[in-house]
């Protein structure tokens, strides 16, 4: 992590001093759970790609919470591309700095999301609390681990997935939906600031009966942990999480790296890019290119999109649920 940050800083410095070197360094500001994915992807891209005048391109990574990355770019971090957890975070950069065009979402296929994921439940081996679906999370005595939607992009997907399920269960009765989602958060053992923090809390510190998390994060934890330690539970309904990507044109142009940055993101959509994506447990935009064995791991479940009328897009969802005084803020009341 530390080494990556240094690489990113060096990359930023090199990028700033421009074309003297025969190598272009791109800085990719990403969110937490994409570390392994981009490590592989960057190696593949660097190996095969040369600019028109024959320069090599290498990539520096910066990983942090999605919202924090957006703020850093707004405050001047010289990222050439952003690959974040939420559309809203890129919107914010576009809005505040003008370094990203307002219509960035239509610049690349699939709403500029080369990979998608969904939100699943991870329980302890043998599923001792018998957790099958969202309504099991509000049972008394079930302890839930999920990051704070205020500080974590992934956590917002978690919250909205529960909201989508509640919308169906309570036929759109918002009072009951709010109470239901509130009950989940009142069962929370700990609100970490990011998705990775919650994974650590659940897996290493043995806290909680169920972790609400990205599907890719759950797969990764299952692969890294001993057999039978954890189990993944697909809820009956979840959300289609679309982590988007965009070129920070203002920065990349300044570094003389606009074309390289665009090609870098386009490479995510190439067959090789899609194969790497599926290998790292993200659902590829174009399943045809991925290894069928990788695809077989993803269960087909019903997923609601953020553009569904239930949410009305990120802007509306953010304002209604997560802004100050929004529905999430109303969950926690003073004790006593």
């Amino acid at each position: 992590m530390r080494r990556r940050l240094i690489a990113a800083l060096v990359a930023g410095a090199l990028g700033a001093c421009g074309s003297a070197a025969d190598e272009i360094v791109l800085l990719n500001a990403s969110f937490d759970p994409t570390g392994d994915l981009y490590e592989d992807f960057n190696a593949a891209f660097s190996a095969s790609y040369r600019t028109l005048d024959g320069k090599r391109v290498s990539i520096g990574m910066s990983h942090a919470g999605s919202g924090k990355q957006a703020r850093s770019v707004i405050d001047g971090m010289q990222a050439d591309v952003v690959t974040l957890a939420l559309q809203r975070d890129i919107d914010l950069i576009a809005e505040k700095t003008g370094k990203i065009p307002q219509d960035w979402r239509s610049r690349l296929p699939g709403n500029s999301a080369p990979y998608t994921s969904t939100i699943v439940l991870l329980v302890r081996g043998g599923n001792p609390k018998n957790i099958r679906d969202w309504d099991d999370l509000v049972r008394k005595g079930v302890s839930v681990v999920t990051p704070n939607p205020k500080t974590s992009g992934g956590a917002r997907w978690n919250y909205l997935a529960a909201w989508a399920w509640a919308a169906r269960r309570f036929a759109g009765d918002e009072a009951r939906m709010g109470a239901f989602v509130g009950d989940i958060y009142r069962n929370a053992a700990k609100l970490d600031s990011g998705a990775r923090g919650s994974t650590t809390t659940f897996s290493r510190q043995g806290t909680g009966d169920v972790l609400i998390t990205w599907e890719n994060e759950a797969f990764q934890l299952l692969a890294e942990s001993g057999p039978g330690q954890f189990e993944m539970v697909y809820p009956s309904l979840s959300i289609r999480a679309e982590p988007p990507v965009a070129v920070v044109e203002g920065n990349a142009s300044r570094h003389g790296a606009l074309k390289a940055a665009q090609d870098y993101l386009a490479y995510l959509y190439s067959p090789e890019g899609q194969r790497i994506i599926a290998r790292h447990y993200f659902r590829p935009f174009d399943p045809g290119a991925a290894d069928p064995a990788d695809l077989a791991r993803f269960r087909q479940i019903e997923m609601v999109s953020i553009d569904d009328p239930l949410f009305g897009g990120w802007k509306a969802a953010q304002a209604k649920h997560f802004d100050a005084g929004g529905l999430f803020d109303q969950i926690y009341k003073p004790a006593g």
């Binding site: 703020r71 500080t151 700990k190 510190q205 043995g206 100050a324 009341k333």
Partner: protein, 288 residues
């Protein structure tokens, strides 16, 4: 800056010549340096929070959630500082007054909380005190006390990061105390406890207060270690610095600076009181 005052001495003699040279230069340097490092950033904070109207500012200041977070941050820092004061003085005493094998190692270990990245400390503490951690399982299983992921965890984290401040401020003073005064006190017939309370503690008191204040101030601002060991639930163990980060993530810079300003004012008042206490103690014990 200084030349003006020193060359035209006859006109207005606004200060007495010091035996040490360079007062003007060094004062100018001090003010410039403090401005650059401390005052300008803090002024920026005040200006930013002034962009909020009064009504908005008060709405944030009296938001019960903000209140709970401030109470926790200052309360936990206070408790941790008190604990650190008691045990820090004890540690300093042992390190200064006794000779035993491994003393140098222990002495060096005191500084570790200074050097360790707070996130590392936080994760280590959280792992130890989590319900299934080594200490956590014992505390919760046997004693029924929940430390990890609770407000008590916040206090534990702050004790950890604040300990060196007390030890390191008390230690040099303790080393300087003239042993002969203690011996004199003993030969004059004072019991041991009386020597401690009337001879040693008064001499140490200003240093103890400084250590207390530093430990407290550090605790109020601590973020890195706390968010790992607290469960960060509002009204339960959500500290004020976390609330500031949350406001920033809401893109609510004014709100974040408002909480920061409130913290700053409270901290300033408390540190000011400590300073007054210190001045008072010097006078009081000086005449004793």
């Amino acid at each position: 800056m200084s030349s003006e005052a020193s060359t035209r001495t006859p006109a207005v003699k606004w200060r007495r010549r010091s035996v040490l040279p360079g007062f003007g230069l060094s004062l100018g340097y001090t003010i410039a340096y403090l401005s650059l490092v401390v005052l300008i950033p803090l002024a920026g904070l005040a200006i930013k929070s002034a962009s909020l109207g009064w009504s908005e500012f008060w709405a944030i200041a009296f938001d019960p959630r903000v209140g709970a977070a401030l109470q926790l941050s200052f309360g936990a820092a206070l408790v941790a500082a008190v604990v650190n004061t008691v045990f820090g003085v004890l540690v300093a005493w042992v390190l200064v007054r006794y000779r035993f094998p491994g003393r140098r190692w222990l002495d060096a270990a005191v500084d570790l909380p200074f050097a360790l990245p707070t996130a590392v400390a936080g994760i280590a503490l959280a792992t130890l005190y989590a319900p299934n951690g080594v200490f956590g399982s014992f505390l919760e299983g046997t004693l029924g006390v929940k430390v990890g992921f609770s407000a008590l965890g916040v206090v534990f984290a702050l004790i950890f990061v604040g300990l060196p401040f007390v030890v390191r401020t008390v230690q040099p003073v303790l080393e300087e105390i003239d042993r002969e005064t203690e011996e004199a006190s003993a030969t004059l017939g004072a019991r041991r406890w009386r020597t401690v309370t009337r001879v040693i503690l008064p001499a140490l008191f200003p240093a103890i207060l400084t250590g207390f204040a530093l430990s407290f101030a550090r605790g109020v601002g601590e973020y890195g270690s706390v968010i790992f060991i607290a469960n960060n639930l509002p009204f339960e163990s959500e500290i004020a610095p976390l609330l500031i980060v949350i406001k920033l993530d809401e893109n609510n810079y004014a709100g974040a600076t408002a909480i920061a300003t409130i913290m700053l004012v409270i901290a300033f008042v408390m540190l000011f009181v400590v300073n007054l206490l210190q001045a008072w103690s010097r006078k009081w014990f000086g005449h004793d």
